[in-house]
Symmetry: C2
Subunit: 180 residues, 2 copies
């Protein structure tokens, strides 16, 4: 960040009065520009025990498989955002949407929220950001070609929880850098 | 937003190619400026069945009572943020921190995450943003002087859950505007 969004003059990085960390502050109008973590919302859509995955058509991790997920937008709820991303990436409608998994990823200032849900009628198709979509059980998931560690972990937990018949909400942090 | 953070020229509100909603886009360098919901993290600190509340020293809702909470910062986890805010506002250390309550507040593009936790040694004191702090059971909570509807709802649910002995993670949206 180099310039103030309000007056267009240059910003400097300093600790504002009464604060305890550096912020970008306008050298002219003194507006403080806060930046905060972004929320990524997604779904674990399930149909007849199988989970819906999408093969990514875009970088990063093009050609690798993921759960439908993306940045939460202003003006929507996290549940609406998770359902929207599932429509956009997998042309799938979902219902019975329950919070299932939260991952903090502090080194990139992101927080992931995955919702477990039913895939309506088992219907899905590739949206513009996906090359293909498919339903997978534990034995057929392309485990060696999953896009991100949070997806692998969520899928492993899901299949274990499904076998046990209960689905606790888990929160943990990803402290390492995913392979790229 | 009027000016580009990267080059200082003016921005315009338009739908970028491949997108489906308006963004601020620089008229010169074409940088797209995304804005996303902010996360507010907080705690429900409990000691001997009583919940720690803070009387607000700042607007909005100065002189009203709240749970310790505030904006999640870049580079921290949601759990770390909730504990940090509890220290800043109530000079309290907490442990056994478990996700308890999520509120989406889409009309102000915020998402609240409250963590249930133990208040270490029952120790607390007013931080700079609080006038006083105190431990309250259900019968002594100042119900008529709670700062925000999400706080009232979280406290009511907490005392009911404590009586029942189990603490499901709940997610819901606040669709109305709180009194101010």
């Amino acid at each position: 960040m180099k310039f103030c969004t309000h007056c267009g003059n240059s910003v400097v990085l300093r600790i504002p009065a009464g604060d305890d960390r550096e912020r970008f502050v306008c050298s002219s109008c003194e507006l403080i520009h806060y930046t905060n973590p972004r929320v990524i919302v997604g779904c674990v859509p399930v149909y007849e025990g199988k989970v819906l995955l999408c093969k990514r058509a875009i970088e990063p991790r093009k050609n690798y498989w993921t759960l439908p997920a993306g940045f939460m937008e202003n003006g929507e709820t996290s549940v609406q955002g998770a359902a929207r991303e599932t429509w956009e990436e997998a042309r799938a409608r979902v219902s019975n949407i329950d919070l299932y998994r939260v991952f903090d990823v502090p080194y990139i200032s992101q927080i992931y929220m995955f919702y477990r849900c039913d895939l309506d009628h088992g219907e899905h198709a590739a949206g513009p950001e996906s090359l293909e979509t498919g339903l997978y059980d534990e034995s057929t998931v392309p485990w060696d070609d999953i896009a991100f560690p949070v997806i692998t972990q969520t899928l492993k937990e899901y299949f274990a929880d499904a076998a046990a018949g209960h689905y606790p909400v888990r929160v943990s942090a990803i402290e390492y850098r995913p392979r790229r």
